[in-house]
């Protein structure tokens, strides 16, 4: 595990780039791995796979519904297709196909969304995916993953390819702070505790894991002991990790770059309600954002360590 818990966290590669590189590795190891693309291969980094394995790269043009259906057909013939696009396009335009052609007959298709959340930046809300996790988690049988950094992406890509069944993996556009050291072990459905604490638990996925680690340090200076948990798998949830956090720390803050009404937070709240009810606070989005730099957006829309720390202080106060 060996997390980088003392900060500065160094900037690593973007999780979308890690996805593209991991896909090439998987393609080298397994001739059944295919890539399916909708005119965004340079942005999703499936272009790396296309260069290496042109005969296993499928260009669909700008047609995400068909893309997901084609991936389903490839999978029915024994291939392991990774269909990739911006999260907002593949999830929203391919959702019906993810439902009927993939989830319902339980077909072995991997869906990869890049440019998730608001940290895509200047392109603005039409390209920002803030509902993708709600949609993917709604589908029975889907495994839903949101890696925090490059190491997590490599490991979870490997797990996704090995898993027999539908997977959605969410990645981002900007460089992601390095949270994990090389060789960290990941298992689908097993959350990772990055720091222990007794007053409150900070849970997050994706970019917000690094922000939670920064928040933990700030809280420590004030005498608040925070546990930090990377919920890289949103589905199936690690209910035991959640139960322990609720029972042992009595307060949970869930942070995510997603609509707060429909992401990890509500899923954790359900698990908490069913196991060891405790105080909870939620950090996320409640509206569509706007154009701007990724950093400027994360500041303006409240997805920073300072916002998480404020939510944690509030949660600790509410315990009393």
């Amino acid at each position: 595990m060996a997390a980088n818990t003392k900060f500065e966290l160094k900037a690593g590669m973007a999780t979308r780039e890690a996805f593209g590189k991991a896909l090439v590795e998987l393609g080298k190891e397994n001739p059944n791995v295919w890539a399916v693309d909708a005119d965004l291969s340079k942005s999703t980094y499936t272009s790396l796979f296309a260069k290496e394995f042109p005969e296993r790269f499928v260009s669909c043009g700008i047609a995400e519904s068909n893309m997901v259906g084609v991936a389903a057909g490839l999978a029915l013939a024994g291939k392991i297709p990774f269909a990739a696009s911006f999260s907002c396009f593949i999830l929203n335009k391919g959702f019906e196909q993810m439902r009927v052609a993939v989830a319902y007959p339980n077909v072995n298709v991997k869906i990869v969304g890049t440019h998730s959340g608001i940290s895509i930046g200047e392109d603005g809300p039409s390209q920002m995916s803030v509902e993708d996790l709600a949609l993917a988690c709604a589908l029975p049988g889907f495994v839903v993953l949101s890696p925090a950094d490059e190491t997590a992406t490599f490991a979870l890509m490997r797990a996704a390819a090995a898993h027999l069944g539908p997977v959605f993996l969410r990645t981002g556009r900007p460089r992601a702070p390095i949270v994990y050291s090389n060789g960290a072990q990941f298992e689908i459905g097993k959350a990772i505790q990055l720091a222990d604490g007794k007053d409150v638990t900070l849970m997050a996925h994706g970019l917000m894991v690094a922000e939670s680690l920064r928040a933990q340090e700030a809280l420590e200076a004030e005498g608040i002991s925070a546990r930090v948990v990377d919920m890289h798998t949103l589905k199936p949830l690690d209910r035991e990790m959640i139960r322990r956090a609720a029972a042992e720390t009595g307060a949970i803050v869930v942070s995510e770059e997603h609509l707060v009404d429909a992401g990890l937070g509500v899923r954790v709240a359900q698990a908490v309600a069913e196991s060891a009810p405790c105080v909870m606070e939620f950090v996320g989005l409640d509206r569509y954002a706007e154009s701007g730099s990724p950093d400027g957006l994360l500041d303006k829309y409240g997805l920073r360590a300072a916002n998480i720390a404020a939510a944690a202080r509030k949660a600790v106060r509410r315990k009393k």
Binding site: G61, S65, V70, A71, A72
Partner: protein, 273 residues
């Protein structure tokens, strides 16, 4: 099953399939007779004559695939699969009942010999493209047949897949349009005209054949032609009659999605004797 290319024998099988459709829908008291009856000759010609498949080896990797994209016509597929020996003939009358292998729309969870589950219109052609692409990459001889409804091709995804098929030169895929001219709300021309239909498929780069969808010799010839085409997929526009074979159902939009009553079943079976 005994395969045959004898037209009279295939016509007899078609009649048997029609009887199954009527009986099972009568028992189910709901379902879609019109578009099941219009597709009978195509399905029978494929399963008894044209397709490479073996009911003794349902997972044979080199089998031809059939996808019923117009999933509401499930009864015609169920009757054919059962008569081929893939599934139970006796259980056909459990159609649409709790726990039946014969679900309202094709459901692979309940009937694993299905290539996949369908029922939401517009999706089958894309899946066929993926199957065709994998077969070509693996140098397998198998071909994929996908049956579309005429109303179904109003869905935009069909045309995404049509562009895809021509671009990728998937000559191992045949799309059959069951052109019975009626959809749920009425005549296709009054709901959303799809003409000029053959021109559309040609413009999208498909080898296009128009055929009498109730003429078994014409279908046999069309499928042979499709198999000889190189470098492009084939669209086979099967001109059919909705409710074919049952006088009061023929060309009657009511029987798109209404099952026959007991009395109607009796009349229909007399006509199909």
């Amino acid at each position: 099953m005994r395969r045959t290319n004898n037209v009279e024998e295939l016509q007899q099988i078609a009649k048997l399939i029609r009887r199954h459709i009527i009986v099972m829908l009568g028992e189910a008291k709901s379902g879609h007779p019109g578009g099941s009856l219009s597709a009978v000759e195509t399905v029978v010609t494929l399963y008894w004559d044209v397709m490479r498949h073996d009911p003794a080896k349902p997972a044979w990797e080199d089998r031809d695939r059939f996808i019923l994209s117009k999933g509401h016509a499930a009864p015609v597929l169920y009757a054919a699969l059962a008569e081929c020996g893939y599934s139970s003939v006796d259980a056909l009358n459990t159609l649409r009942k709790l726990g039946s292998v014969y679900q309202g729309h094709p459901d692979k969870r309940f009937l694993p010999v299905l290539e996949t589950s369908t029922g939401s219109l517009g999706e089958g052609l894309s899946i066929a493209m993926g199957l065709g692409m994998a077969a070509r990459a693996d140098k397998r001889p198998c071909r994929t047949y996908v049956m579309l409804g005429d109303g179904e091709i109003q869905e935009g995804q069909i045309w995404e897949a049509a562009m895809f098929g021509a671009f990728h030169k998937l000559d191992n895929v045949v799309a059959i349009v069951d052109y019975n001219r009626i959809q749920l709300d009425g005549w296709v021309k009054d709901i959303m005209e799809i003409e000029p239909l053959a021109d559309k498929w040609r413009a999208f780069g498909w080898h296009t054949i128009e055929v009498d969808g109730h003429s078994i010799p014409a279908l046999q010839k069309a499928f042979a032609e499709a198999a000889s085409v190189k470098g492009k997929p084939t669209a086979l526009i099967a001109k059919t009659v909705k409710g074919k074979g049952v006088s009061f159902m023929e060309n009657n939009p009511k029987y798109h999605g209404v099952a026959p009553t007991k009395d109607e079943v009796a009349v229909a079976l007399k006509e199909l004797a």
